[in-house]
Subunit: 336 residues, 2 copies
């Protein structure tokens, strides 16, 4: 199995990307890496690291897609960008199972659909990150921002795809699925979410429990939260903001009290780690013919390594095949 990595995407590329990927190589033996990006720069980073050389390839790409440019025109025109070259490798190399990029989210989503393509029957691919929760496990949020305007039938598919992903990559037996709404009662939600609730209740093959609230993202009482891409993104950013806010407050308070910090160090770092976004790796883009993972733009080596291992799990677990198998179950309900 090969994991393709866009070495040039993200705030800390290529250094942290390359470093993180080689860290992951040390943790599992069953995969190789194909870096795409500026060959000179990537090899310069690699030269400073110790890793199993036989498991690493570098494919040169002369261009880089930035956050400032229009995703659509960028992926169309920058054919020799590290992202597009990577997507082509993922598509054409039978051994390549997944691509990871910390670059422009829009470009990864657009490029993924353009070069890898949707699984037949998927209305809208969706972004599905794993959110750290109070239990120290993770909650899958789908859609976390790929589709701002959603129809009820999209959300039913998000539930099915995330269920398949949870089983395949996270060892979830019968994941509890909830719909992110403005209250837990069945009647809550705007018109679209009320229709989605009815559709989810009919959808076969998923363990739909009912409505959940923003707070449930962090409590960990559900395995999967289904959301429209707009409010899903609001919830994701709020949870992310929580971790950052708490980290900042802890830092501010304890920097004034060194002795207290000395005694509380262990507990503080535990609190941080539970709320730490980076340990969760990246967000899987569900619904494509091969695994595409968007890593956080600010990813450091540690989170890149987590994203690589997550990609390996997703491929080993045959996520795509599980989605293909489960997808018809939503179709059935849609006819009703």
């Amino acid at each position: 199995m090969k994991i393709v990595i866009d070495a040039m995407g993200g705030d800390n590329a290529p250094r942290e990307i390359v470093k993180g990927a080689t860290l992951a190589l040390g943790k599992r033996k069953n995969f190789g890496i194909v870096f795409t990006g500026d060959e000179f720069l990537v090899k310069k980073e690699l030269a400073a690291l110790s890793y199993d050389v036989a498991r690493v390839e570098v494919k040169h790409a002369s261009e880089v897609i930035t956050n400032d440019e229009s995703p659509t025109s960028a992926v169309r025109n920058k054919r020799d960008s590290s992202l597009v070259v990577g997507l082509k490798v993922l598509k054409e190399d039978a051994e390549a199972g997944a691509l990871i990029s910390a670059g422009s989210t829009g470009a990864v989503l657009t490029g993924g659909i353009m070069y890898i393509g949707r699984i037949a029957g998927v209305q809208r691919p969706a972004l599905c990150p794993a959110i750290p929760n109070y239990r120290g496990t993770s909650t899958l949020l789908c859609d976390a921002g790929a589709n701002a305007d959603c129809k009820p039938s999209y959300l039913a598919q998000f539930a099915v795809m995330a269920t398949a992903y949870g089983r395949a990559a996270y060892g979830m037996e019968n994941p509890r699925v909830a719909l992110l709404s403005n209250g837990t009662e069945d009647h809550k939600g705007d018109i679209m979410h009320q229709e989605a609730f009815a559709l989810l209740s009919e959808t076969k093959g998923i363990n739909f429990i009912g409505n959940a609230e923003g707070r449930d993202l962090m409590f960990g009482d559900y395995d999967i939260l289904v959301a429209d891409g707009f409010s899903g993104n609001v919830a994701l950013k709020a949870a992310e903001g929580c971790g950052k806010t708490v980290a900042s407050i802890l830092k501010a308070e304890f920097s004034k009290a060194k002795l207290s910090y000395l005694f509380a160090r262990k507990q503080i770092s535990k609190v941080r780690s539970i709320l730490d976004y980076n340990r969760m790796g990246g967000a899987m883009f569900l619904g494509l013919k091969k695994a595409v993972i968007k890593a956080h733009g600010s990813s450091k080596a540690e989170s890149v390594a987590a994203a690589v291992l997550q990609a390996v799990d997703a491929v080993e677990g045959r996520t795509v095949e599980h989605i293909v198998q489960m997808l018809p179950q939503t179709a059935e309900t849609k006819e009703e």
Copy 2:
């Protein structure tokens, strides 16, 4: 000035409600309280407290509205409930400036519209809580859940009403208004939010800065976040969940390490207090002819006291009059 208090609403009524209200009496001299609810029970609670007796009235109400019943039928049929009796006092007593209830949100919203009425020109009254942020100040979120289905013109009015409220009750000079969206770039959002963005950009009298994300609710870089009631509620609950999650994690970690706790106690309580929801009081229901405030259902004495002082500020600051003055400015843009 009189503040009317539904003594029977909320998980800890009447004890914590009555206790909190009398606490508030001790902090300011310029207002009186009218409790509505079971006279026997309320007076029993009062008997155990020391407060300025001359500033407290109790108006008997034989019924209580619960969270389980339909808000609309409850406020229609339970004419002698502590909430409805309170709303009637607020409407009829010229000295009464605000009502506070920790009871059913739906009943408070429905009852407020039914008995107090909208300000002329207000399309939809909106729920506007103050969220604790990293700076230790508060961010106004409007709408936090009163209107799940929103039109762009509603959001423009939310911005105007919250600006008037921020100036009147929170001493905000020229509050920075942002639109809660799925990204900070101007083009972000679903169709409804893109239209709202355009409308907010044209709205006179507000200081509209652009789009904000879920995380901005806790960072405190904006004074007001305008949102549709659905995603606003998702963000509110997520922020609330954050505080609870962190409190739980801190408790879990430090209960295993008493000595560390001893040394870090001061800092930990500071962290908690910054994220503490209760210190912010209640959520103002903006757009009614008099101030109606929904306190958190789980309110304890401390947060009830905060809500009472918040009500006093809102009345002293002439919030309603400010809204009446500013409202025409949205109307202008609506014609364009």
